[in-house]
């Protein structure tokens, strides 16, 4: 079965095709939502933001030049919206920090049980990474973005992308070590 490419959908959206917009939304909404949710850590805010992201796609489709993949372009918009929302709602950042602190001191029975499961501890450590490190790890591993694409989305040089990813992974090892898992690296 033939699938219409994202680029064709964008061209149709530029011409006001609502059906193409529905297809694009259905295709990308979950990934964009998860990317935003990992940044803002609030489901209601993430939902509001994705409708804003796709509204921007609707409005800007005619200006899309195809220099990057459509998904990369949308993640750039999503990141900008998420960071703007975080700047507008400092109390949410506070909630975020509070949540992190709770997680940091979460040496409760639940965590003790999780410690038995290395994979679960690893996921917990991934959640504890700073927003900057979380973002790059998600873009590389989950959103499957190349060095060049991450550089475009985050707005940093490619060399910085590589070093930031390296330090995110290093921090991950430190967090695992705190939980008693020594990976022997770095």
């Amino acid at each position: 079965m033939q699938t219409t490419s994202d680029e064709v959908l964008i061209a149709r959206i530029a011409g006001g095709d609502r059906l193409a917009m529905q297809v694009l939304f259905a295709r990308h909404q979950v990934r964009v939502y998860r990317f935003v949710l990992r940044l803002v850590r609030n489901e209601a805010t993430a939902e509001d933001l994705i409708s804003d992201v796709f509204l921007d796609v609707w409005r800007q489709a005619g200006k899309f030049e195809g220099r990057s993949a459509v998904s990369t372009w949308m993640l750039s918009i999503a990141r900008f919206k998420a960071l703007s929302a975080l700047r507008r709602k400092p109390e949410q950042e506070l909630d975020d920090k509070t949540a992190e602190q709770i997680e940091d001191h979460a040496d409760n029975p639940e965590v003790a049980l999780a410690k038995k499961d290395k994979a679960a501890v690893l996921r917990q450590a991934l959640s504890k990474l700073s927003a900057e490190h979380r973002e790059i790890v998600d873009l590389v591993y989950y959103h499957e973005k190349s060095v060049e694409e991450v550089a475009g989305i985050v707005g940093i040089p490619e060399a910085t992308v590589k070093t930031r990813m390296f330090y995110a992974r290093k921090k991950l090892s430190e967090l695992l070590k705190e939980q008693g898992i020594d990976r022997g690296w770095p």
Binding site: M1, Q2, T4, S5, E7, V8, I10, A11, R12, A14, G15, G16, R18, M21, Q22, F25, Q29, V30, Y33, R34, L37, R38, E43, A46, E47, D48, I50, S51, F54, L55, W58, R59, G62, G66, A119, L122, R123, L126, S127, V137, D138, V140, Y141, Y142, E144, K145, S146, V147, E149, K162, T163, M165, F166, R169, L172, R183, G184, W185
Partner: protein
């Protein structure tokens, strides 16, 4: 390990996450593969990267999905937007891609000839635009046939998927036809069959005749 080797090792190690995700260029992927094959410590570290990748995916997959509210909200906002005029500046590549997207999978087997056709017809369209621009600046005698592609008798044609560009060129030349616009939705082209308006019966006769040609998949009269 000397400094140069250490730098090379560090360079390769930085690429491991992208290698695991399959987003490296072929050249870089080959460099990483070669390094992994000769360096057991690097291979061990690569296994750590694979674990991180697996758990990051799992973590994201457990985040759930947005509710239907997000889509409702989006389309309510789109409905509130001013009506949009079709964008004329869509680049040629996207238009061709759109043309292919409108074709059935079977038709795509003929993509090579279809691509040639699209270019040919686009060239015809450009030629028409040029003619239109020239005629707007020049003059015409009252009796001379119009070169304005907006004047004349027209049909809408969708060419048969199996028709090659040669077949179509011959068909257009033999019948003195001119592509005035397209491709439009559904792979249709507006084709001028006469440079002046024709009586309905005459136009219907021409359409019937053209319909018999194997190059034509669909044909209808149009304004």
């Amino acid at each position: 390990m000397n400094t140069t080797n250490k730098e090379a090792h560090s360079d390769i190690e930085e690429l491991l996450p992208w290698h695991a995700a399959g987003t490296l260029s072929r050249r870089d992927a080959q460099r990483v593969e070669a390094a992994l094959a000769r360096d057991p410590e690097l291979a061990r570290r690569y296994a750590l990267v694979r674990e991180e990748l697996d758990e990051t995916i799992l973590l994201n997959e457990t985040l759930g999905a947005p509710s239907g509210r997000a889509m409702e909200k989006l389309f309510a906002k789109i409905d509130a937007e001013p009506l949009r005029k079709p964008v004329l500046s869509l680049n040629f590549g996207v238009r061709v891609a759109g043309f292919f997207a409108s074709l059935s999978p079977r038709t795509l087997a003929w993509s090579a000839s279809a691509a040639a056709l699209a270019i040919l017809l686009q060239a015809g369209l450009i030629a028409n635009i040029v003619l239109k621009e020239q005629s707007a600046g020049g003059y015409e005698t009252a009796s001379a046939p119009s070169t304005d592609p907006g004047v004349g008798a027209f049909t809408l044609i969708r060419f048969a998927p199996q028709a090659s560009s040669d077949d179509i060129t011959k068909f257009l030349e033999a019948n003195k036809l001119q592509v005035a616009a397209g491709p439009m939705s559904g792979g249709l082209y507006k084709v001028r069959v006469a440079v002046t308006g024709l009586p309905k019966a005459e136009l219907a006769r021409i359409v019937k005749k053209l319909q018999e040609d194997k190059v034509v998949g669909f044909i209808a009269t149009t304004e």
